[in-house]
């Protein structure tokens, strides 16, 4: 038998492009049409959230005033982003008339729907338009696509701008919960011993307190409940499931041979935890984080519905539901935010499921 050079072995499979774990998972995810649909919906929501002021608002998207170009609509994101010149010139938030009056040369590109999420649109604010109806007369019509609430504030605008909050709630709170959970779980799972005992007991204590009660208590303690504080509180109470899962993954991965090989090479604990174990532990942990986003949206909605959310005039879907509480005959106050929450939570759950299937280790490593 000949002794062929062993180089022949490596050339044989040089044909396919190298696929990392995530690109492989993405390929598998793509194959599920429902998962893609859900992801598309989430993307759609993100676009709506990003472009909210351009979709519904009473401030021009872009306008030329006294020779300069401005983007007043950004004021919806942050007060200070609206140029001070409009305050100086006493616009008081009313753009259509003032622009034409104070500078005949001005032009403006308006949002698709001229409505405001925070206040009732007044009579003739937009030339020729009457003021927003309220209460029983505020059912969905041509100008108020989703109707108005009891004060006459347009619901469509509230829904559009509320999308930003809906998405932020999920990401911010789960970002916080994820970070806390992963660190607590990693420490307990990797070091074991008394470190594990402390982290496990801590996790159990936080887990045993009923979440909603804990959240309400924290909100009561906090001085000015803003949406950001609510998100942080939801995050600070929602990390326990993630911690337990991370701990289990670290316990398992700690025993693998590649971790021992890293130690044999001379790597220290921190390096092993974050460079070796964490990338392998991440996939199963992302799934509950995705479900957590859905759950955070529901929690925020519940809080706002009960009246414990951020105070008006914050536009969130839950706050619309809150208005519905005392005005149940205004069915549009229930249907539109309810449907919105339903589909958003459904979409996140489907994305989570799809992610779980795409990253399932049992489908991955096929032994030859």
């Amino acid at each position: 038998m000949s002794q062929e050079p062993m180089k022949v072995t490596a050339e044989i499979n040089a044909t396919n492009p190298s696929r990392g774990f995530w690109s492989d998972a993405w390929r598998r995810y793509r194959r599920r049409p429902i998962g893609m649909l859900a992801l598309g919906f989430v993307l759609f929501l993100t676009i709506v959230a990003l472009f909210a002021p351009a979709i519904a608002g009473t401030k021009p998207v872009i306008c030329s005033y006294k020779g300069k170009i401005y983007f007043p609509c950004l004021g919806y994101f942050n007060r200070s982003w609206e140029s001070p010149i409009f305050t100086k010139d006493k616009f008081r938030g009313t753009y259509p008339k003032n622009l034409k009056q104070k500078d005949p040369e001005s032009w403006a590109v308006w949002p698709l729907v001229f409505q405001d999420p925070y206040r009732r649109v007044r009579e003739n604010e937009w030339p020729g338009r009457r003021e927003n109806p309220s209460r029983d007369k505020g059912y969905p019509n041509r100008l108020n696509l989703f109707g108005t609430d009891q004060y006459g504030v347009d619901i469509f605008a509230k829904m559009v701008h509320g999308t930003t909050i809906a998405l932020l709630v999920g990401f911010v709170s789960m970002g916080l919960a994820g970070s806390i959970g992963v660190i607590v779980g990693a420490l307990g799972g990797y070091f074991g011993g008394w470190v594990d005992m402390i982290t496990s007991r801590l996790t159990e204590i936080v887990m045993c307190v009923p979440t909603l009660v804990l959240i309400l208590a924290l909100i009561a303690v906090v001085e000015k409940p803003t949406i950001w504080k609510t998100m942080a509180i939801i995050g600070a109470t929602g990390w326990t499931g993630i911690a337990r899962l991370t701990r289990a993954e670290f316990l398992r991965l700690r025993q693998t041979e590649f971790v021992m090989a890293a130690r044999a090479t001379g790597a220290g604990s921190l390096r092993i935890m974050f460079r070796h174990i964490l990338p392998n532990a991440l996939a199963p942990v992302l799934v509950p984080i995705t479900f957590g986003i859905a759950s955070a949206i529901l929690v925020e909605g519940s809080l706002s519905f009960l009246g414990f959310g951020p105070p008006p005039p914050t536009a969130s879907w839950g706050s619309v539901l809150n208005s519905a509480r005392s005005n149940l005959q205004l069915w549009w106050l229930v249907v539109f935010p309810g449907t919105g929450i339903f589909f958003t939570v459904l979409a996140y759950n489907l994305v989570g499921e799809g992610l779980q299937e795409a990253t399932d280790p049992r489908l991955r490593e096929a032994k030859k």
């Binding site: 050339e11 190298s18 696929r19």
Partner: protein, 363 residues
């Protein structure tokens, strides 16, 4: 075993009475109720450039011995000396630099490479940790190591799952070589591979040893591979070495009944290599409760009263060492002739089997 003149050729690895016990903790307060004595008093030397084969079945502790030497598992007692340095006493920083010189290749080619890291990162890690050169040097060293193991540099940008078992083992070997070690623990490196690939990797290991002057501790349950690669062989059972000798000696003139049983159990294609099959009764016992006296006595066809009570002392016959009451007595009777003794033991065992009924499987 080559330990005649310590000054002339000091062994690279010296292990003395190594014990590694794992505590068994039960109860709410996790109190220690016992221990798994995975390694319970192991002694051997390995000279530079030699291969020591460590054989035994599951639960005998051979894997733990390899890992204890490198302190990947902390030994409980005993001495481990590497090139004169007491491994157990090194602090973390010195141990890290020592780790560079002693490396390990694991059995499972699917578990020993991090699935989320590219081969490049896997190979480079050691070089980065030990600050061996800048980026370009590292790339050069990695390429060399890969070439030595028969792989091209294209593997660097790929992930472990894209390779077969044999290729992954080569990558694992390259990973250990890249640090230019002197000593390599090979923990069943070919057991998980197909026969045709095993041969390739075995040839590779032998080649590397000659080229780079490496010293190997080759752990395996596969006797034919150990016979082929090793200079000296030690047979382990339940945490202890029951017999050790230079390879030809051990294979042609084994003295311990367990060694005889082990060799005879290996099914062989060549009719002439087949030995009278000795089928031991019972299963491999658990290392948490080793039998009193000679640990092998519950399964030994030649067990006598003394074997059940007293641990057999070591007998050293010019490097051929063993622990067995019956064998040492027989050796005396044969006037120190190892060959005769070996045949006598073999005959005694065969006699036991031919008059007994089919052996039952005990606990």
């Amino acid at each position: 075993m080559s330990d005649q003149s310590p000054q002339a050729n000091p062994p690279l690895i010296r292990v003395k009475d190594l014990k590694t016990h794992f505590p068994i903790k039960k109860g709410l307060l996790r109190r220690q109720v016992g221990s798994v004595k995975a390694v319970d008093g192991v002694t051997f030397d390995i000279a530079r450039g030699e291969t020591l084969g460590l054989v035994g079945e599951s639960g005998c502790g051979k894997t733990t011995v390899g890992r204890s030497i490198l302190r990947l598992v902390e030994p409980t007692k005993g001495e481990v000396t590497f090139d004169g340095r007491a491994v157990r006493e090194e602090n973390t920083r010195d141990l890290r630099s020592l780790r560079r010189r002693m490396q390990i290749v694991f059995q499972d080619p699917y578990g020993s490479l991090n699935p989320r890291m590219k081969i490049r990162s896997i190979l480079e890690e050691g070089l980065i940790l030990h600050r061996m050169g800048d980026e370009r040097d590292r790339l050069e060293q990695m390429k060399q190591a890969l070439e030595r193991t028969g792989l091209s540099a294209t593997v660097l940008e790929r992930y472990p799952h894209e390779f077969s078992g044999g290729q992954r083992q080569r990558i694992a070997i390259a990973r250990s070589l890249v640090l230019k070690p002197e000593f390599l623990v090979l923990d069943e490196p070919v057991s998980a591979l197909d026969v045709s690939i095993q041969a390739q990797v075995i040839n590779l290991l032998e080649e590397l040893k000659q080229e780079l002057g490496l010293t190997y501790l080759f752990i395996s349950h596969d006797l034919s591979v150990v016979e082929y690669l090793a200079d000296n062989v030690a047979v382990m059972y339940l945490g202890q070495i029951v017999e050790s000798a230079e390879v030809n000696q051990l294979c042609q003139q084994p003295l311990h009944p367990y060694t005889l049983a082990l060799f005879s159990a290996v099914p062989s294609v060549e009719v002439k290599s087949r030995r009278q099959r000795i089928v031991l009764t019972g299963d491999v016992p658990s290392p948490s409760q080793p039998p009193v006296g000679c640990r092998f006595h519950p399964r030994c066809p030649l067990a006598e009263t003394v074997c059940r009570e007293v641990e057999p002392p070591q007998v050293d016959l010019a490097g051929h060492r063993f622990h067995c009451h019956v064998a040492s007595r027989e050796l005396e009777r044969c006037g120190g002739d190892v060959g005769k003794t070996s045949k006598a033991i073999q005959a005694a065992i065969t006699a036991v089997y031919s008059d007994s009924n089919e052996p039952y499987s005990a606990v």
